[in-house]
């Protein structure tokens, strides 16, 4: 899955008549639903390929029809790695607050966390089972990781509504 920065560096095609001072970026997204201008404005900052903060890309983004060759996008939002489809799923199911809490609590409770990515998933065998899987890249021995996991679950016990819990799961890649 490409990061937004990779997409901007590999797919950006500044037009010939754009000056360096007013260079704009056109980002290609693999979107599954239409997006409103206010949605992008309120939720995301997109970091330009040169490390510049490119705000308000609305009006300059190009929406491509979904196709196998179009990469999915990981949007960096407030320093969180959340798959756009995962975000949309949470928005549609009113899970955004819980998504935020889960993400932040994972970062807070797991030491030696080397990476974290939130992805949308559909169970390949149970189509009704869908949600967001948090992929933790982590170092450490199993007993310590499980101890931290138990602390994590005790922390979210009162902050994530019960009816939301089934939509979120933790998976690990242990180094």
């Amino acid at each position: 899955m490409l990061t937004c920065e990779e997409i901007l560096t590999t797919l950006v095609r500044p037009t010939a008549d754009e000056s360096t001072e007013t260079r704009t970026y056109k980002a290609f997204f693999d979107l599954h639903r239409s997006r409103t201008e206010s949605y992008w404005e309120s939720r995301f900052e997109i970091i330009g390929a040169m490390g510049e903060r490119v705000e308000n890309l609305i009006g300059e983004e190009e929406v491509c029809a979904s196709s196998p060759s179009t990469p999915s996008v990981t949007i960096v939002s407030e320093s969180k790695n959340v798959d756009i489809v995962a975000y949309e799923f949470c928005r549609a199911h009113k899970l955004l607050a819980s998504l935020d809490i889960m993400y932040n609590q994972i970062v807070n409770d797991f030491t030696n966390l080397k990476g974290l990515q939130a992805d949308y998933f559909v169970d390949p065998e149970l189509k009704k089972r869908e949600g967001v899987v948090f992929r933790l890249l982590i170092k450490g021995n199993p007993k310590r990781i499980l101890k931290e996991e138990n602390i994590f679950y005790s922390h979210i016990a009162n902050s994530i509504p019960l009816e939301h819990r089934k939509f979120f799961s933790l998976v690990y890649s242990v180094r």
């Binding site: 998933f121 169970d123 390949p124 065998e125 149970l126 009704k128 089972r129 899987v133 199993p142 007993k143 990781i145 499980l146 996991e149 138990n150 679950y153 005790s154 016990a157 019960l162 819990r165 089934k166 979120f168 799961s169 933790l170 998976v171 690990y172 890649s173 242990v174 180094r175």
Partner: protein
């Protein structure tokens, strides 16, 4: 067969030096927990569907058990299933021996924690939950 036999196999497979064995170990860890909890629910007259839907049903019952330990078990069952799906279907991602060990320990922890749950409270809460969701 006792479902915990799958845990013994899961532990054995971790020792082999191949990713295929580690992935299979993760699968056995999940099914050890699933089948163990399903059997325990059956002993409390909580029947779980024998179809694929039973997997989601079992986790839902624990999630709505009203007991803190039960809710955590529901979440961990959900986690183990997701990890098992990655092990069985996402072959491009590297699966480490350390991850298989973690899943085995997690499954072991879940099976060890269930006996200490208040069974009466658990049964009552699940019956109430099912009463709410059962179509008259």
């Amino acid at each position: 067969m006792d479902a915990k036999e799958f845990l013994r196999i899961a532990k054995k497979l971790i020792r082999y030096n191949s990713e295929a064995n580690w992935r299979t170990s993760i699968g056995r860890s999940y099914y050890a927990v699933f089948n163990y909890l399903k059997e325990e629910c059956s002993l409390l007259n909580i029947t779980i569907s024998s179809t694929g839907e039973g997997h989601g049903e079992l986790a839902e019952n624990f999630n709505n058990s009203g007991i803190a330990e039960g809710v955590i078990i529901g979440s961990k069952l959900n986690d183990l299933r997701s990890q098992r799906n990655i092990a069985d279907y996402e072959l491009k991602q590297v699966m480490s021996q350390a991850t298989a060990k973690l899943m085995y320990e997690k499954a072991l922890e879940v099976t060890n924690s269930f006996p200490s749950i208040d069974k009466t409270a658990f049964q009552t809460a699940v019956f109430q939950f099912r009463g709410k969701t059962t179509t008259p």
